[in-house]
């Protein structure tokens, strides 16, 4: 015969386990909700003034090409911010309904900075990577268009490193290597082959 105290202890323990389980599920749901990126359009450049020409390299999935294009947007005078504006504009073009190389909704460039005057660092948001289509070619088109656009607007850089939410990531969507840096000259060679 199990004593009453043991029975109470058992019931308390079971209740505790159930409670902890519920709490863990709630925590998981909260974390997922936090990670879920709101569907927002790319942030427009925070400047006013007359539109200025910026160079972007737009990918085309059907033709498997990268084409240079001039866009006219209000852009800051500071070079790194101009480069970020160009990348944001590139993403905006790729988010249009008629985009030739569509990116997932909510894709954004969080920041661009330069290290040691020659390494350009592009910090993408989680939605950019998570919603990107998977495949060597489709990922390569994205990387080449980003690197070429950055290099066109930041002439001093020789290498480009990609981060996602400020952290290193193995691949963009299962294929393109994001662990190492991209050599601008090598990417330019690929871009020429894709023209």
């Amino acid at each position: 015969m199990i004593s009453r105290r043991v029975q109470i202890a058992m019931v308390a323990l079971v209740a505790l386990i159930l409670g902890m389980g519920y709490y863990a599920i709630r925590l998981k749901q909260k974390a997922e909700a936090r990670a879920r990126v709101l569907e927002v359009a790319p942030v427009p450049p925070p400047v006013a003034g007359p539109p200025q020409p910026l160079t972007v390299f737009v990918a085309n999935d059907r033709e498997m090409t990268i084409r240079q294009q001039q866009v006219h947007v209000a852009a800051p005078a500071e070079q790194v911010e101009r480069a970020r504006t160009a990348l944001t504009e590139l993403i905006r073009i790729s988010s249009e309904q008629s985009a030739t190389h569509p990116l997932g909704s909510g894709a954004e460039v969080r920041a661009v900075f330069v290290v040691n005057q020659n390494l350009g660092v592009v910090d993408l948001n989680q939605a950019f990577a998570d919603s990107h289509r998977s495949g060597i070619m489709v990922e390569e088109l994205t990387i080449v268009s980003l690197v070429e656009t950055l290099a066109a607007n930041l002439p001093g850089i020789t290498r480009v490193k990609f981060l996602v939410e400020g952290k290193e990531r193995e691949t963009l969507a299962g294929h393109a290597d994001l662990k190492s840096t991209y050599d601008v000259a090598s990417v330019a060679q690929i871009a020429r082959e894709l023209q």
Binding site: G135, I136, M137, E140
Partner: protein, 473 residues
């Protein structure tokens, strides 16, 4: 006091239950084992998995290299169509212990398992099921988990020859066993060839040098052990068709009187054949296990297409005389480092990673975007991240040859450099193949005739450069 003990017991039981429930099943299962399949069409091995204490194997993995397979799932019901000698249909339901083959009832020793659109059967049911699906004679060796489909077995016919004492093995095709001298014995381990006994598995000799020999089944192969009273050695001659096991030359000189006349050349003064260059292609079916790769259609995921295409490519290369190793043969998870290691440790001539995607059409052949390095000695240390740098020219040649062959066969093709982790870490000619739909229809990615065309083109393109690749390696 008693209630305190009961409370402790209750706590211990609850903790144990919690641990069992919370520890992932993958951690609890044992390491995978393998079944080696030898058939007239292809030799391959597939991983088996522990499920509820029983060993299971994927039916698609088992049959696909021998014929054409198509699977469809309808709720819990799974149907597999296999076309080998004839068309056969296998039907089973998840959790049930019976299946049908062309409508004929087949009792399974344990439950049929359906997971992610793939059917798994208990290993103990493999012989009966493969026999009824393929209609071939089978030789199932449970100790080694070798399945010989048709009659591909190579019989071991050891012949004892005196003066000097030796055991001579002859094979109809070149054999390449792993040879290990262990004191006074020599072990020949056959894992690539379906070596089987021709009669008695063991023999005793009334000879002062060689005393006994035995063939036994070991996991994944067969082992022939020869024991003697002195250290023994094995020599491979005739391009791998003859293996001679006898006393080590120096031992023989020390233990036997000098012969009046020169001993037979094969043993006393063996003429070592110049090592034949090896042409090994490592094929890596990208993704697998917990990494599904791209979702191509609602029912088609990249990891399945890559494995199917990799198998076809392996078969096409083997039929053109290349040795082939596959980085994965079943739905297993591999890291990029493990894939590159598979090629580097095998000293591959060529590494091919196989991918599939929805975008575009035809085939894309990628090489590493890494710039070539300055020439350096083959023995020089190279950083892991730059392992490919000494091979970029050769990789580009292979990619060009494959692209040319695809073009000849009217398969749309594009060759480009790309930055892919395994390619950069491989010290061999290395390419990535990305299979795209034939004519914009994503479903064609899984079409066997299309995959076959692509596999044949890639294999022909690689083999066309065989001599250059052998020299480079």
């Amino acid at each position: 006091m008693r209630s305190k003990h009961a409370l402790l017991w209750a706590l211990a039981i609850l903790t144990a239950v919690a641990v069992i429930l919370l520890v992932p099943k993958r951690v609890r299962t044992a390491e995978p084992h393998r079944i080696s399949v030898f058939s007239a069409r292809s030799n391959y091995s597939i991983d088996t998995f522990d499920r509820d204490g029983l060993e299971y194997v994927g039916l698609i993995d088992l049959l696909e290299p021998m014929g054409r397979v198509e699977a469809r799932t309808d709720g819990k019901r799974w149907t597999l169509s296999y076309t080998g000698k004839s068309a056969v249909e296998f039907k089973a339901s998840d959790g049930e212990r019976h299946a049908t083959v062309n409508g004929k009832e087949l009792r399974l020793p344990a439950r049929f398992v359906l997971s992610s659109g793939r059917g798994f059967i208990p290993v103990s049911s493999v012989p009966a099921l493969v026999r009824s699906m393929t209609g071939e004679n089978l030789d199932w060796r449970p100790a080694s988990k070798r399945l010989l489909v048709g009659n591909p077995g190579i019989q071991l016919n050891p012949e004892f020859k005196p003066n000097p004492s030796r055991v001579v093995l002859t094979f109809p095709i070149p054999a390449s066993p792993a040879i290990r001298s262990d004191g006074n014995s020599v072990r020949l381990t056959f894992t690539r060839e379906p070596v089987v006994s021709s009669g008695s598995d063991s023999a005793n000799f009334t000879d002062p040098t060689i005393q006994a020999a035995a063939l036994k089944e070991i996991p994944g192969g067969a082992e022939y052990v020869v024991r003697g009273s002195v250290p023994l050695t094995a020599q491979i001659t005739d391009g791998g068709r003859t293996i001679t096991i006898g006393a080590k030359p120096q031992t023989q000189a020390a233990t036997t009187p000098a012969p009046a006349s020169p001993p037979p050349a094969a043993v006393a003064a063996p003429v070592a054949e110049p090592p034949k260059p090896r042409f090994l292609v490592v094929i890596d079916a990208a993704h697998g296990g917990s990494d599904p790769g791209a979702t191509l259609t609602e029912k088609l995921i990249e990891k399945d297409v890559t494995l199917a295409l990799a198998r076809r490519l392996a078969h096409e290369l083997q039929s053109r005389g290349a040795q082939v190793t596959m980085a994965r043969t079943a739905d297993t998870t591999l890291t990029g480092e493990q894939r590159a290691l598979a090629a580097n440790t095998a000293r591959a001539s060529v590494y091919v990673t196989v991918h599939a995607a929805q975008l575009g059409q035809g085939v894309r052949v990628f090489t590493s975007a890494m710039p070539p390095s300055v020439p350096r000695p083959k023995t020089a240390f190279v950083a892991w991240e730059e392992a490919q740098s000494g091979w970029t020219d050769m990789s580009n040649q292979v990619a060009g040859s494959v692209a040319l062959e695809c073009d000849k066969r009217k398969i749309a093709v594009k060759a480009l450099p790309a930055k892919l982790a395994p390619l950069s870490n491989v010290a061999a000619a290395a390419i990535a193949i990305e299979l795209a739909p034939r004519d914009g229809e994503t479903a064609t990615l899984n079409a066997s005739d299309y995959q076959q065309d692509v596999a044949a083109a890639v294999a022909t393109g690689i083999v066309a450069l065989r001599s250059q690749l052998e020299v480079a390696r």
